[in-house]
């Protein structure tokens, strides 16, 4: 079985788990491959993940906000799923009381 080759931008590569440490400023994304996790280095995290920068490691974290497709952070959604309304970084089937979607958008404003 040919070990996965590390993507460019990798600073520390491992035969079975891909990249363990990326070059500065790049994000590491852990992709699942059967029972293994394969490290990949990216300049930006894919849709459905958000980047968390730290001095020692930048990491792509899964966006776990309900009904959200893309996140700014652990608790702020930047893009809700089709047909849902966004308000203060959360996704709703309809705008909360006192708010309404402006001229055809899906964003609730007061």
């Amino acid at each position: 079985e040919v070990p996965p080759s590390c993507t460019r931008g990798c600073e520390l590569c491992s035969e079975y788990n891909g990249c363990l440490k990326c070059m500065p400023k790049l994000f590491i994304l852990l992709e699942r491959n059967d029972i293994r996790q394969i490290g990949v280095c990216l300049a930006s995290c894919p849709v459905g993940y958000f980047g968390v920068r730290n001095p020692d490691m930048n990491k792509c974290n899964k966006c776990r906000i309900e009904n959200c497709e893309d996140c700014f952070s652990r608790n702020f959604c930047t893009k809700c799923k089709e047909g849902l309304y966004s308000h203060k970084g959360r996704c709703y089937p309809s705008c909360p009381e006192g708010f309404s979607a402006t001229n055809g958008t899906t964003e609730c404003t007061s």
Binding site: T7, G9, K25, S44, G51, S73, F76, T78, G89
Partner: protein, 500 residues
């Protein structure tokens, strides 16, 4: 239908390539339905004959991970419909302010991981729709107040991983729609008293990994704050009524600070707070007054010098599930019986002297109780009688001479080591579910690990008269039921059971 060519005259000065994608231009996906072709330094985006009545909704330009150090003024001309612009992981020292002038529909702008040291006023003047802005991992030495001030629609911004050392008054005064503000990993050592005024909508503030020495008092202006982080700073005290202005707080992260003093009323009136953890506050002598903080589920106050607990503890914390007051100086325990949802109590390393009948009575959810390393001399007969799901009890290193078994039939883990005066036999019938035991003496394990026959030669001649088959059956039965119990200290040749 006029042809919609989106010329993309990217006449860009490309510095030495770095990072994953190396040289050359790598930019984002083609808008849905359009056809994109690279033509040298240009990119031709052909969206003609698609029946479009407006520009593609999610038009985005992704230039992340190149070596861009300069962007031409007209780089994005004709792209008024641009929604997402990703310039992160480049070499920009200045923001291409002129190139942004027509981007009135831009909603997400990534500039993180560049070398930006300042942002001139007016730079973001036309970005009236901007919601999300990434400026983290740059070289900013101060908050770009005037530039940010023009972003009235901004909802989320990160200025993390820069070199900001002070937040002046009114730094974000016009950002009334801002919901998330990340300032972690800077060098912030001081805050203007009105630093956070105007942030009416702010729900998340992260000040972690800075050099703050004082508690961030200016947070009192953040009436909608739900999550606050100021861990990993150099803060020594939390004042009285510290969060009086933040009644909606759900999470506060302040670990890794040398906090010694905490005002008794510091954590009052936080009805949404779920978890509170304070470790090593050596000058905290009293249990905090948690009036109005009624949703707390987990409370940890360790390595302080609390010597007594209020009788009203459970009335203040009716939803408590986990309580950890280890490493304090507590001598007497109030009744926990009104802490009806509590599942775990850690009181080890205190000075508790007795366990009364009413102390833990009626705790229907209590699973684990750790009273090790105290001075418990007596446990009243029915102290554990009414704890139907208690499975772990640790009374090791105390002064016990006996243990009432009432109510402990469900135990799987029982630890009594270090009670030198406890020499009585523990009956296996009283503890049918035990799996792990730590006893003061080896012989107390004999009832649980069947050491008489299988290991001790002294008993060899006694078993000869038995029919071999019976013996094997008996051994097998003994082996299966007792072998699953791990009991220490395990009896052996030098610790025989024979003197039972």
């Amino acid at each position: 239908m006029p042809q919609t060519w989106l010329l993309f005259p990217l006449l860009l000065a490309v510095a030495a390539p770095r990072g994953a994608q190396g040289s050359g231009l790598r930019h984002g996906g083609c808008p849905s339905g359009c056809r994109c072709e690279e033509d040298g330094a240009r990119v031709r985006v052909d969206c003609s004959d698609l029946g479009l009545t407006a520009l593609p909704a999610n038009l985005s330009v992704r230039l992340a991970g190149n070596g861009l150090s300069h962007i031409h003024t007209g780089a994005f001309s004709g792209l008024e419909g641009l929604r997402v612009l990703m310039l992160q992981n480049n070499q920009l020292q200045q923001i291409p302010c002129e190139a942004l002038q027509n981007l009135r529909n831009l909603q997400s702008f990534r500039l993180d991981a560049n070398r930006i040291h300042s942002i001139p006023p007016g730079c973001f003047h036309s970005l009236v729709s901007l919601r999300h802005l990434w400026l983290d991992d740059n070289a900013l030495t101060e908050v770009p107040i005037q530039a940010l001030g023009e972003l009235s629609s901004l909802q989320a911004v990160t200025l993390a991983l820069n070199k900001i050392c002070h937040i002046p008054d009114h730094a974000f005064a016009t950002l009334s729609s801002l919901v998330v503000l990340h300032l972690h990993h800077n060098n912030i050592h001081s805050l203007g008293e009105k630093a956070f005024d105007g942030l009416w909508s702010l729900e998340t503030l992260d000040l972690s990994y800075n050099n703050l020495v004082e508690f961030p008092v200016p947070i009192k202006a953040l009436t909608n704050l739900k999550e606050l982080g100021f861990h990993s700073n150099s803060i020594r005290s939390i004042p009285e009524k510290a969060f009086v202005g933040n009644p909606l707080l759900q999470m506060i992260f302040f670990y890794d600070n040398p906090i010694q003093i905490v005002g008794k009323s510091a954590f009052q009136h936080l009805p949404e707070l779920r978890m509170l953890s304070l470790n090593g506050a050596a000058e905290v002598l009293e249990f905090p007054d948690l009036t109005g903080t009624k949703s707390l589920e987990s409370l940890t106050i360790t390595e302080a010098r609390i010597s007594s607990l209020p009788g009203s503890l459970c009335d203040q914390l009716p939803k408590l599930q986990a309580l950890d007051l280890s490493y304090n100086l507590i001598q007497h325990l109030p009744s926990f019986s009104r802490c009806r949802t509590i599942q775990k109590i850690d009181l080890h390393h205190n000075a508790i002297q007795e366990v009364r009948a009413g102390t833990f009575q009626g705790l229907m959810e209590l699973r684990a109780l750790d009273l090790s390393w105290n001075r418990v001399q007596s446990v009243e007969p029915h102290a554990f009688a009414d704890l139907p799901v208690l499975s772990k009890l640790d009374l090791s290193s105390n002064l016990l001479s006996s243990l009432p078994a009432a109510g402990l039939r469900g135990l799987t883990h029982l630890k009594l080591a270090g009670n030198d005066g406890l020499r009585e036999l523990i009956s296996a019938e009283d503890f049918p579910k035990l799996r792990v035991m730590e006893m003061p003496y080896a012989f107390q394990c004999c009832a649980f690990v069947g050491c008489e026959r299988s290991q001790d030669p002294w008993y060899a001649e006694e078993s000869e008269g038995h029919d071999l088959e019976d013996l094997l059956l008996e051994l097998e039965e003994d082996f299966t039921s007792k072998q699953s119990v791990q009991c220490s200290p395990a009896p052996g040749p030098f610790r025989p059971c024979y003197h039972l």
